[in-house]
Each structure stands twice: as structure tokens, then as C-alpha cells.
């Protein structure tokens, strides 16, 4: 049974006309949204001169055409529900379309009893305002998108709130869908995930469009909090339509002895920028940052990361792989920062680009800023093409060139997915990659 919230869209029209004025959000939050709007208006539009936007095609960031979303028809809801197929089994599920909640499959009674909170954001704002206020956008967007984080805050109307209490491990993944319906619509997805001490949780987000080509804007922010000893896995499967501009700003806070892993698979969108900030604030914390981008046609994927080692004895490991065909472009701007006194840091960062055409362009800016000693930090960046010997080997086994190429590319990308060590999600992501190549 679909649970539909009764959002009243007070203002339809351009997203640039002002903040969302939603009457059913608490007044204190609306106040914050108005402040965020002022901030958005005052911050300058990014230019390539800015190091955080170097190489980016900033001309694509024209927000003028995008509108706030009108209500959905019953047909839309039915279709969206029908096509929201991801994993076979999940602990809980939320489906959003045009920032409206289409369906919520609540977590089991047992999990609920043990203290798991799984709510739409606007309800958590009221019912768990202490947790909400403590963690909602508590980390500043420092990787270049402060302006768009402000835009997100000004327009966010719903999203997912997950709280996993101390010591509880949720076996099955929590699944979230965000859909874009109609041309030039905008969505502002939000996930606020708090895993308390020693808790364990996996979340997968699917970003999809109803039409293959409809232009749209997605401007999302995720706050992922791994409490002491907690284990958080976040997976994003981004399959927006080919004309969507997507900006995703993720921040992860890793407390002592906690472990956070994120995997971002990007296959859709015209311009897709994803910023991942991982802050290691407690000793023994570990953060794994994984990403795969399959770039074709004129797609541009723009990844910016920061592994921020604040406490001693923390470790982080980043592996980003891009396969580029046609006239696609990718940008990787990553930084390992070891703050003063964060001794015994062990950090790694690797980006690998596989160029499949003469017009593809891969830009890599792996960076290190080390302000402590007694550290082990390495990074590597490579750009190359399919190994001729490997291709030859496969062809001598009777595999046609095209198939052999595809095998080698998926094999190249598979290394990242295997790191996730979650066969069910891995299979799903693998299928998405195959589909992208088949298209």
C-alpha cells in the first residue's frame, strides 16, 4: 500500500526563484532553508580557475531550466513502483519520485523494537529532532560544491533517515530509489545515516530517470556517520538519463575503530559530479572509497575526494576506475590530507583510467598534503588502454574482438566491485555495467 505524504507545492516553477516554502516542515527548518538560500545566492558560480573545478565543464552548470516538481499522477506512481526493481531482498525500502515518497516498506517489527529508525526525513525532523539537528549537513562541503550544498539545503523536502542503535547489525541492505519524472525536473535527494557504536548497516541507493533522455537536475547530499566500532557500507548506483546534470555531495565521518566503505557506480547523466569527503576522527578508523565510472558519448564524470586523517592510527584506501569511450571525459581530483599529529596514518589512493577511443579524455589530479610524520601515504594514477597481448590471447581462443574487448573492460572494472565483498550487490552492479556496454 503506497504511503503518500501530502506535500503541497507552494511554488512551482524555477528552482532559482527561491527556497522551497513547504508548510508541513517545521518553522525552524524553514528558517534554515531561507538562510541556505541566501548563502546559495551569495556564493559565486564555479569557474575553472578555481582548483576545485579545474578541468570541469562548468558551462554545463546552468540551473535556469530546472523546475520544482509538480505532483505525480496515479499512473506515474504505479509505473515507478513497477520499475523499482533492485535487490531481491532488503531490510527496508523507500521509493521517491520527483522528491515525493511513493512507497515505504518499513523495517521488520523486530528491528523496529530493537530501536532501528527508518523514516522519511521530514518526519525525523520532528520526531528525532535532536539526532537530526546534530548530524544533518554537519560537515561543510569543502570540495568545491558549497554553493550547491546550499541549494540542496534550501530545496530539500524529503529523504531518508536511518538510525541503527548500539550493537545492532542489520544483515540485509536498506534500499532507496530516487526517480526523475518529466523534463527539466529537479530532485534534491538526501540520506542521513547514523550507525551507533558497533552497529552494522548496508545501504544502496538507486538513481534513475523515467525517460532515457529527459533533461533534469539532481543535487543530493548524504551524511554518513559511523560511530565507534561501527561498520557502514554505502553503495550508489547512478543511472540517470543521458541529459541529467547530477551533483552529489557525500560526507562520511568515521569514529574510532569504525569502518566505512562506499562504492559509487556511475553510468548515467550528462555531467555527473560526485564529491566524497571522508573524515577519520578517531584512532583505528578505516575508510574505503571505491568508484567505477563507465563513460560514453559526451558524458563527463567529475570525481573529487578528500581522505582527511584527523586522528592518529587511521587508514584509508581509495580505488577509482574509469572506462572511457567515444568523446567522454573524466576528472579525478583527490587529496589525502594528514593533519598535524595524525601520526601512523596509512593512506592509499589509486585512480586508473582505461581509454577506449581516441577522443576520450582522462584528467587525474591525485594529491597529498602531509602535515605529520611517521606516515605511510602513497598514491598512483595511470592512464592506458587495453593490453594488446591480452586481446590477442582471447582472440586466439576464438573470442571475437568486440567481445574480448568488453570482457577485458569489465574485468578491469570488476576489481573495484569485488572489493565490496557483497556478491548480491556486486551482481547487480555488474549487470548495470554490462547493460551500459550493450547500449
Amino acid at each position: 500500500m503506497p504511503l503518500v505524504t501530502n506535500h503541497e507545492i507552494s511554488k512551482s516553477g524555477s528552482i532559482l526563484s527561491g527556497p522551497a516554502e513547504l508548510r508541513d516542515l517545521p518553522e525552524w527548518f524553514r528558517e534554515e532553508q531561507r538562510a541556505a538560500w541566501d548563502q546559495f545566492e551569495n556564493l559565486p558560480q564555479p569557474t575553472r580557475k578555481n582548483q576545485a573545478w579545474r578541468f570541469s565543464n562548468v558551462a554545463l552548470l546552468d540551473l535556469a531550466p530546472f523546475k520544482t516538481s509538480p505532483p505525480l499522477s496515479e499512473d506515474d506512481r504505479r509505473n515507478i513502483l513497477k520499475y523499482s526493481r533492485g535487490l531481491e531482498q532488503y531490510a527496508g525500502r523507500m521509493i521517491f519520485a520527483n522528491d515525493l515518497l511513493v512507497e515505504r516498506d518499513v523495517v521488520s517489527e523486530d528491528l523496529k523494537k530493537r530501536g532501528v529508525i527508518f523514516q522519511p526525513l521530514e518526519r525525523a525532523m520532528v520526531e528525532h529532532s535532536d539526532l537530526f539537528r546534530k548530524y544533518f549537513m554537519s560537515t561543510e562541503a569543502t570540495l568545491g560544491s558549497a554553493k550547491f550544498a546550499a541549494l540542496h539545503k534550501a530545496h530539500v523536502s524529503t529523504g531518508t533517515f536511518v538510525f541503527v542503535p548500539r550493537g545492532l547489525e542489520i544483515e540485509l541492505p536498506i534500499e532507496i530509489f530516487h526517480w526523475l519524472r518529466h523534463d527539466n525536473m529537479s530532485v534534491f535527494p538526501h540520506l542521513l545515516l547514523v550507525a551507533d557504536e558497533l552497529a552494522k548497516v548496508t545501504v544502496i541507493e538507486h538513481f534513475r530517470s523515467c525517460s532515457r533522455t529527459a533533461p533534469g537536475l539532481a543535487c543530493g547530499v548524504n551524511d554518513l556517520i559511523a560511530g565507534p566500532g561501527a561498520n557502514v557500507t554505502y553503495v550508489c548506483a547512478q543511472e540517470w538519463a543521458s541529459n541529467v546534470i547530477a551533483l552529489q555531495i557525500n560526507s562520511t565521518v568515521v569514529d574510532h575503530d569504525a569502518s566505512a566503505m562506499s562504492l559509487n557506480l556511475h553510468v548515467g547523466g550528462k555531467y555527473s559530479r560526485f564529491e566524497s569527503l571522508s573524515r577519520l576522527i578517531g584512532e583505528g578508523g578505516r575508510s574505503d572509497l571505491l568508484a567505477v565510472a563507465v563513460a560514453k558519448h559526451q558524458q563527463e564524470f567529475d570525481a573529487r575526494t578528500l581522505q582527511d586523517h584527523i586522528s592518529p592510527r587511521t587508514s584509508s584506501d581509495l580505488l577509482y576506475k574509469n572506462a572511457l569511450d567515444d568523446r567522454a571525459r573524466t576528472i579525478f581530483g583527490g587529496l589525502i590530507r594528514v593533519e598535524p599529529h595524525a601520526h601512523f596514518t596509512d593512506a592509499y589512493q589509486k585512480v586508473r583510467n582505461l581509454l577506449l577511443s581516441d577522443d576520450a579524455e582522462a584528467n587525474s589530479m591525485p594529491g597529498l598534503e602531509i602535515l605529520a610524520d611517521n606516515v605511510r601515504c602513497t598514491h598512483g594514477a595511470t592512464s592506458g588502454q587495453i593490453d594488446e597481448d591480452e586481446l590477442f590471447y582471447l582472440r586466439t581462443r576464438g573470442i571475437p574482438t568486440r567481445v574480448a574487448q568488453r570482457l577485458l573492460v569489465t574485468g578491469f572494472l570488476d576489481e573495484v566491485i569485488q572489493r565490496l565483498n557483497h556478491p548480491v550487490i556486486g551482481d547487480h552492479l555488474h549487470r548495470l555495467i554490462e547493460e551500459k556496454f550493450a547500449a
Binding site: E361, M365, N374, V375
Partner: protein
């Protein structure tokens, strides 16, 4: 663990002395069109050079400081308090006897032995802005090699130097290349005729010896088809209380099949801003190799580059940086691949001591439709103290298939086990540390020409003296 180690105390006493100034020509303090005319008058520049300087001054004024990516320390430079030109009022000397006595004493104190000078092919010693001593060995001259100062080069050999002057590094490349283009004086202009292989390295020593005065030397080296030349540049400067600016422009042109090797050992005093633009152009089968050691200065910003314009051209940057208290060594390399089958190699090693900061910035660009281009980049950083800092900011653009680029960087500290092992064998901690640091740079130093690897080892030992204890 080495977190307790005190900052390495570098003995800068070697360059910490100066003699009374007796400048005959002095353009005064500050920068205006008048300064440019003054310099042009004194140097008897041809009109086109004067116009070039004036245009460059405009560009300099228009360009902002690159503080959106570079160190904010640049804002400490007060361009109105700098003396842009002064010289001894002497023509470059040909024989040792003509060199003024106090300058000879300066060289003596720096420990440049007379024998070394004789051994080296040509010693061009720059004292302040003008080359006061130039001794080109007869053999080099007989081979048809032109080895002159910037003024002489532009005035006497315009047909050779003018076509390439400011072509590799355009005036507007950056704010400091514009500044240099406006006020340059001194430096070396070298032309090596086709097929000539200059056996001995050409060498120049530079010194700054006037408070608040920037040195803006300009060097242009053209190696004609199939020729080979090695150029060495070494710097020391006395200590001053107010910041001194050094902003050079060095352009190298390696025509078909030529090889140029440019070696720098930079040991400016720790209040000098060293903002240098260096770039080489390599045509078909040519090779440009930069060997760069940065030990002194307050802030060095230097990213030697190679534009590989012809097929099978090769570019290489080998760089060592040592940053101590109050120092920021912001160095790196630029490799622009502009033809098929070009290869480039960057190896950078940095050591941060005390509160020193070493930064690597790199740019590797492989545009589309190029085939079989290869780049290899390796950056290793060594941190000695808990307060030391190191950064790496490479930027790599690759288009198309058929090209391969790899970049690797690592940061580590001196291994406690290594130190322990050496102490077991009876070495003091300081000796062990010095040995370990020398070991870190050894594989790079070994690639240097013999004379310089000896000198460099001596310099590093000197730097490490009294470092731990």
C-alpha cells in the same frame, strides 16, 4: 620513532657575508616605465627590445598574483621596494686578472677552487645583474659555440637569438615571466652549431649581493641539429633581513636530434623568493633534460617543463628539494606531449626537515590523436620531523588510446629500524640520519654529472650537519 628529533640546523654561514656595495649603475627602487627606459638606456638595448620590455611591464601589471593555487606568501613581496637593476658598471671580463679583488674574495669564501674553474669549460660568474667574469675556454669558441650574456646576445646576434627569444615562454605565461621580460638583465645566451658536441659543461655561478634587489637573469640556449650541450647553474647568496626576489626565465630550444641538459643547484639564502620559469622545446628526436636541486630560499616556485613538439622527442626532469624551517620548496615539472612517440620521465624526491614544507606540482598533458606517448612520474617524499610538511598535486590529462601514463608518489619517514641498525654498528644517530637521507636521494644523485654529484653530496652533508643530537 623520530618525532622527538630537533630541527636540522643548516649551516648557512657559508653564504652569510657580504662586501661593501659599489654599484655604479642603479635604477633606484620601485618599478615604473621610467625604470624600464633607464635599464634600456644603460644596456643600450635595440628599439625592439625596449618595446618588448614596455609591453611586458603592462602584462605584469595586468596579471594577478597566482594565489588562487599558489602560496599566500607571495603577497609578502612588495614590488615597490625592490631594486630592479644595478650593475658593477663593468663589461663582462675575459680574463681572471681583470676581475675586481672583492669579487674574487667572494668566490674564495664560497669555496670555488681555482682548479675547478680551469677544469670547467667556461665559467660565467654573475655578480649582481651583470656577468662580471666570463671565461669561455678557447676550444668551445673554436667549435663555433656562442656563449654570451643576454644583452650581448640580443645586440650582436639578433639573427640567431631573436627568432626564439620569448617563444618558448611567452611574456604573458605568468606574472613573473612578465616581470622578468620587463626588467631582465644578465643570464646566458648560448648557441651550439649543428653537430657540435660540447664536451665540458658550460657553467655559471650566480650571486645576489644587494639588499632588496631582485635578480632577473634571462637565459636562452639553442642547440642546433644534432648538437649536445650541458649547462650548469649554481646559486648562493648572502643573508639579508628583507626579502629578496629572484625571478629568472630560462628557455631551451633543442632542434632536431639535439640534446640539452640543464643543471641547477639552488642554494639561495632563506629570505629569497625564488620564482623561476623554465621551459624547453624539443623537436624531432631531441632531448631536454632538467636536473634541479633546490636547497635554499624562503619560497621557491619552479616547475621546469618540456614541450615535446617533434616525433620521438624526449623530456626529463630529475629534481631534489630540501625544505628546512621557514622554507617552502614548491617545485615540480610540466610535460606537454605534442607529437607521436614522445616520452617523458619525472623523478622527484623531497626532504622536509623541521617546519619545512615541500610541495610537488606536476602537469602531464597528452592531447588526442597522439600515438605511443609515454610518461612516467615518481615522487617520493621524506619527512624528518613531526612538524614537517609535504604535499603532492599532480594534474594529468590523457586523451586517446595508444598512450600510457603512470604516476606514483609515496611519503614516508626515515625508518626507525634503519637508524637502529646503523646505531648498532656504532654510528651516532646523526651520522645514521645523514646516511639515510643520502641513501634516499642517492639513486637520483648518481645520475648527475660527476662534478655536480660530488658538490651535491657535500651540500647535503653540510645541511645534515648537527641535524640530530
Amino acid at each position: 620513532m623520530k618525532t622527538e628529533t630537533t630541527a636540522i640546523n643548516i649551516d648557512r654561514g657559508k653564504g652569510d657575508f657580504f662586501y661593501p656595495e659599489a654599484h655604479v649603475r642603479d635604477a633606484g627602487i620601485g618599478l615604473s616605465e621610467r625604470t624600464i627606459h633607464y635599464i634600456a638606456d644603460v644596456k643600450e638595448d635595440p628599439d625592439w627590445v625596449r618595446d618588448f620590455r614596455l609591453r611586458a611591464l603592462k602584462t605584469f601589471w595586468e596579471k594577478p598574483l597566482p594565489t588562487h593555487w599558489a602560496s599566500k606568501e607571495l603577497e609578502a613581496i612588495d614590488f615597490d621596494k625592490i631594486r630592479y637593476y644595478l650593475a658593477q658598471g663593468t663589461e663582462p671580463k675575459r680574463s681572471w686578472e681583470d676581475v675586481p679583488e672583492d669579487i674574487k674574495r667572494t668566490f674564495e669564501r664560497l669555496g670555488i677552487p681555482e682548479q675547478e674553474r680551469k677544469f670547467l669549460a667556461g665559467v660565467e660568474a654573475q655578480f649582481d645583474s651583470e656577468a662580471v667574469y666570463s671565461n669561455i675556454k678557447k676550444a668551445v669558441g673554436e667549435q663555433g659555440v656562442i656563449f654570451v650574456g643576454s644583452r650581448e646576445g640580443l645586440k650582436n646576434y639578433p639573427e640567431i637569438f631573436r627568432p626564439w627569444f620569448a617563444k618558448v615562454i611567452p611574456v604573458g605565461d605568468n606574472k613573473f615571466s612578465a616581470l622578468n621580460s620587463a626588467v631582465f638583465s644578465g643570464g646566458s645566451f648560448i648557441y651550439v652549431p649543428p653537430g657540435v658536441k660540447v664536451k665540458h659543461p658550460l657553467q655559471a655561478y650566480f650571486r645576489i649581493n644587494a639588499e632588496n634587489f631582485g635578480q632577473f637573469e634571462r637565459t636562452l640556449i639553442i642547440a642546433d641539429e644534432g648538437s649536445e650541450v650541458t649547462y650548469m647553474e649554481g646559486c648562493t647568496a648572502p643573508k639579508f633581513n628583507t626579502p629578496t626576489l629572484h625571478s629568472a626565465v630560462v628557455e631551451l630550444v633543442a632542434l632536431k636530434g639535439a640534446k640539452i641538459q640543464y643543471i641547477t643547484v639552488q642554494n639561495w639564502a632563506s629570505n629569497v623568493f625564488n620564482l623561476v620559469t623554465k621551459r624547453g622545446l624539443a623537436q624531432e628526436n631531441a632531448e631536454v633534460k632538467w636536473i634541479d636541486c633546490n636547497i635554499g630560499s624562503r619560497l621557491t616556485m619552479k616547475y621546469p617543463g618540456v614541450i615535446m613538439k617533434g616525433r620521438k622527442a624526449r623530456g626529463e626532469v630529475l629534481s631534489i628539494a630540501l625544505a628546512n624551517d621557514g622554507q617552502h620548496q614548491d617545485t615540480g615539472a610540466k610535460m606537454i606531449h605534442a607529437a607521436d612517440e614522445t616520452t617523458s620521465n619525472i623523478i622527484s624526491k623531497s626532504i622536509s626537515i623541521g617546519k619545512g614544507r615541500a610541495t610537488y606540482r606536476g602537469l602531464v598533458h597528452v592531447p588526442k590523436h597522439l600515438k605511443n606517448c609515454k610518461n612516467n612520474t615518481e615522487c617520493d617524499a621524506l619527512l624528518i620531523n613531526a612538524t614537517s610538511r609535504t604535499d603532492t598535486y599532480p594534474a594529468i590529462t590523457v586523451r586517446g588510446t595508444g598512450n600510457a601514463v603512470q604516476h606514483e608518489a609515496s611519503v614516508s619517514q626515515v625508518s626507525a629500524e634503519q637508524i637502529f641498525y646503523m646505531q648498532q654498528r656504532g654510528l651516532s644517530e646523526a651520522q645514521a640520519m645523514s646516511l639515510s637521507v643520502n641513501g634516499f636521494v642517492n639513486d637520483l644523485v648518481r645520475q648527475f654529472p660527476m662534478e655536480y654529484s660530488v658538490e651535491l653530496k657535500r651540500l647535503i652533508e653540510l645541511e645534515m650537519e648537527g641535524s640530530v643530537g
